[in-house]
Amino acid sequence: MQLREYIKTRQHRNVRKRLPDDLFAPEFSRLGLCPEERMTRRFEYMTSHETPVILPGELITMSRTLANIPDCFTASEWEEIRRDHFVHELGYGSNVCIDWQGVLERGLLDYRRSADGYGRRMIDALLDLCRRYSAAARAAGRDDIADVLDRVPAYPATTFREALQSFRAVHFALWLEGNYHNTCGRFDKYASKYLERDIAEGRLDRASALELTEDFFLSFNKDSDLYPGVQQGDNGQSMMLGGTDGNGRPVFGMLSELCLEAAGANMMTDPKINIRVSSETPDDVYLKGSRLTVAGLGFPQYSNDDVVIPGLIKAGYSPADAADYTVAACWEFIIPKYGEDICNIGALSFPKAVNDAIRRPGADAGFETLMKAVKLEIRAQADGICDGIRNIFFVPSPFRRLFLEPRYRNFGIHGTGIATAADSLAAINELVFRSRELTLAELTEAVDTDFEGKNALLNRLRTGMPKMGQDNDAVDKIAGELLDAFSSSLRGKVNCFGGCFRAGTGTAMFYLSHADALPASPDGRRRGEPFGTNFSPSLFARIPGPFSVISSFTKHDLTDTVNGGPLTLEFAASSFGDEESLCKLAMLVREFVRSRGHQLQLNAVSSERLRDAQKHPELYPYLIVRIWGWSAYFVELDRRYQDHVIARQEYSV
C-alpha cells in the first residue's frame, strides 16, 4: 500500500514547520486574556495556519503541518498557577473519551446551535480548515475526498467513509486544541451501522471496507510522533472493541474483525486495540485477537466485563453507564461522554508501605502486627495523596467540552509494586517469624546496605522464597490484603469535585521512579532494580508458567480495584507459528477471563531480537513492544524502558 510506505518512511513529515515557542503566551498575558479566550485564539491561529496536504493515495485526510503547539501561558504564569493550585501533569485536558457517537450522528453544526461563544468559534475554525482541505483536494484532482469533506464533520455522517473522516477531523482538532491522550472509545459500537448500511446498499464490500479501515488506522500514525507522553508511543490513542450494546447484545462483528485485520496489515503502534470480553465471549474472538498478539504488536489488551462492570457499579457508576465503559488511554476505565474522571491523578507505592512499616517501633512483634503496620502505612500514603489534591487547575478545552456531559468526576490512584510488596512480606514472615533465622532489624539492615556481603541471604530471598506468580496461596493472600487495604483506605473519601477515589493495579511509569525512591527491598530486589509492570510478578521471580501466574493474579476479587492495570504475560513469539498453537493461546486468554482476571496484555517478542535491536537500532525501525498500557517502537524508547522489557522477557513464561 502506497500510503503505508509513505508514512512509514516519514515522507509526510517533510512539510512540517515549527512555530516560535513564545508565539502566544507573552501577548495573551499582556492582554490579560482569560484561559478560554487564550485556548480559542490559539486554536483559531493553528487551524488557519495549518496547510492542507493531500497525501498520495490517502482516503482519509488531514495531517499536521505545524509541528508544535506553543503554550498559552508564560513560564511565570505557570509558576503562579502551580503555587496556588494542584496541576495535573501538563495542566491541559487529557484522558477522557468524548461522545464519538454524537459527533458522527449529529455533525458539528448541530453542536454549534447549543454551543457557547467559544465553542461556536472553535467549530467555525475547524470547519474553515475542512473547507480549505476540500478545496485543496479538489485542486489535486481528489474529488472523492472533497465530496466527503463537504459533508463531514459539519453534517451527520451518512456513509462509513464519512464516519471515518468525521472522526479524523474531530480527533485531529482535539489534538490541535492542545488536549492529549485522546482516546477513541468503542469504535465498533458507534461506527458499525455505517459500515453495515454501506455493505447492504452495495457501496462497499468486505475488501474495500478493509482498505478503508487500514487507511483510517494509518491516519493515527501520521502525527503520532508529535504526541509524546512519558515515552514515544504513550499517546492514549486507544480503541475499544467488543463488549455489549445497550440491550446486552454482543457488539463484536464485521467491523471489529476488520479493525484487527487492519492493525495486523499496518503493523504500526496506533491505534492501540482493546477488546472487551466476558465469560460469554465466543472462542472465535479470542482466536482473532491472538492472531494479532502473535503478529507482535503488543495488543489487543483484554478487559473483562464480568469484573469491570460490577466494579464500576460498586464505585457508583450507573449500571447503564458502567456497561458502556472504555479505556481512557492505557487501561484506566472511563465512560464515554459522561466520564470526566482523572484516572491517573496519583500513585501509591506498596513497597514503600512495607519499607516504612518494617522501621516502625514494635513491628517485629509478630507477622500480624507487621501487617497492621503496613496497612497503616498504606492508609497514610492514601491520605497524603488525597489530601494533596485540592484546588485543582485545568486549562479549559472549549472544543473538547462540546462533546462531554460530565456525570462522573472521580479520581483514580495507581497501586505500584504489589508483587514486590507481597513477596517482601512473605519472605519476612518466613525468615523472621517462622524459622527465626534473623531478626527484622537484621533484615532491614541488609536491605539498607543493599545486601552487601550477604550473598547467601540474597540468593535465598530471590530464589528460595515464595513469590506472587507461583500460585502460592500464602503470598497471594498477602497481596489480597494489601489490595483491600488500599481500596478501603480510599473508600468514603470525597474529592474536590464531589467524586470518589478509585484504587487501581496499574503502575504507569512508576515501576521505575517508585523503585528508585526506595533502597533495596526484603524480597531481594536490589537498589535500582525496577518493579514489575502494572499487576505482574516481580522481574526476577521464578515463574513456572502462565497457569500459575493467572492463578496468583486472579485469586483476589478485583472489583474493588477498578481503576485498572493489567496483568502482563510475556511469550516468545516463535512458540505460536502454527494455527494449532494459536488456538491454544486463545484458550489461555479465555481461561484468564473465566478465572475472573480484570485485564490482560500480552507481549510476544524475542529477547534476542530486542538485544540485537539495542545494538543495531537501524535494522529494527518497526519492532513493536508493549510497555505499560501502550505499544511503542522499541528503538524509540529510553534505555531503561528497553531494559525493563528485556528483563520481563528473560524471566518470562
Binding site: P544, F547, K584
Partner: protein
C-alpha cells in the same frame, strides 16, 4: 517411589493435544548430537550456569574464590542452579493435579518428556496412572530406547505415546545418537500391535535426518499414524555452555 525431574513447564503448546503441562524427566540413554536439552541426558544432578544473563557482578567469585563456583547458593541472582530434583510419586501427582481443572477446560493434559521418560518408566507409569484416575489426559514423549517391558509400561499407563523417529538406518542411528535402533523398532512394533495411540515425530536435522531416503523409510515405519516433522532451530545449542560442554563438537550438523 521417587523419581528425578529437571523442570515442569506450564502451557506447552507442542506436546500433545490442548494446552499442557510438561514434566521433564532426568536421564536419557541416547546422546543425539543435535540434542537441545543436554541437561536431560545424565541421570545425575548437575550444576548449570546461566551465563547469558550473568552481568559479571563478581559476587559469586568473591565468596568462593574460584572462577566457576559449583555452589547453587553462590550467585545472588540465582543464575547457578542445580539441575535435577527428586520427587515422590505422591508429591509430583499432587503438584500436577493442581492444574487439572484448567487443563480440562483447555482440552489438554500432562506430558512426560525429558530426557526420556522411558528411563524412569515405572515412576512415570505410577504418576501418570494417578493422574488418569483423576481424569487427566497424559502423554509420554519418548525415543522408546528401552526394554519391551518399559515400553509396555509407558504405553499402558498413558493416553498417548509421542515417539521420536530419527534415522531408519541402524548404523547411522548409532553414529548420531549413540544407540542402534533395533530395540526401538521392536518397541514400535509392540505398540502398534497393542493398538496404542501413537504420534510420531522427527526432528529435521540438516544433513542427518532430513535426507529424502531416510524420510521415505521413516514414513514406512510411521505407517499411517500421525507423523510430525519439526524444523530444527539452530540456536538449540545454547544450553551446552551452561553445563560447561560444547555443542556439536565434530561439526556434524549441516555437514552433508
Amino acid at each position: 517411589m521417587t523419581g528425578r525431574i529437571f523442570d515442569i513447564k506450564e502451557f506447552s503448546v507442542h506436546d500433545g493435544p490442548g494446552a499442557r503441562v510438561t514434566v521433564f524427566m532426568k536421564g536419557c540413554r541416547m546422546r543425539c548430537v543435535w540434542c537441545h536439552n543436554p541437561e536431560g541426558q545424565s541421570t545425575e544432578k548437575e550444576i548449570m550456569h546461566k551465563l547469558s544473563q550473568c552481568d559479571g557482578c563478581g559476587l559469586c567469585t568473591r565468596d568462593n574464590r574460584t572462577p566457576y563456583p559449583r555452589d547453587p547458593g553462590a550467585c545472588p541472582r540465582g543464575l547457578i542452579t542445580l539441575c535435577g530434583e527428586d520427587v515422590t510419586e505422591e508429591d509430583l501427582a499432587e503438584r500436577l493435579l493442581r492444574y487439572a481443572p484448567r487443563l480440562e477446560r483447555m482440552g489438554g493434559g500432562v506430558t512426560f518428556s525429558g530426557g526420556d521418560p522411558i528411563v524412569q518408566a515405572e515412576f512415570v507409569a505410577r504418576v501418570s496412572s494417578r493422574l488418569r484416575d483423576s481424569g487427566v489426559h497424559t502423554a509420554a514423549e519418548t525415543s522408546l530406547c528401552g526394554s519391551a517391558d518399559e515400553a509396555a509400561l509407558l504405553a499402558e499407563n498413558t493416553d498417548l505415546m509421542i515417539v521420536d523417529l530419527k534415522l531408519a538406518d541402524s548404523a547411522l542411528h548409532e553414529k548420531y545418537t549413540g544407540m542402534p535402533n533395533g530395540m526401538i523398532s521392536d518397541n514400535i512394533r509392540l505398540l502398534k500391535e497393542r493398538g496404542t495411540c501413537i504420534m510420531f515425530r522427527t526432528p529435521l536435522i540438516p544433513g542427518i535426518t532430513d535426507g529424502a531416503e531416510n524420510l521415505r523409510a521413516l514414513a514406512e515405519i510411521a505407517g499411517g499414524h500421525p507423523w510430525e516433522k519439526l524444523a530444527y532451530n539452530l540456536l538449540a545449542g545454547a544450553k551446552y555452555a551452561m553445563l560447561g560442554r560444547k555443542f556439536d563438537e565434530k561439526g556434524e550438523i549441516g555437514a552433508r
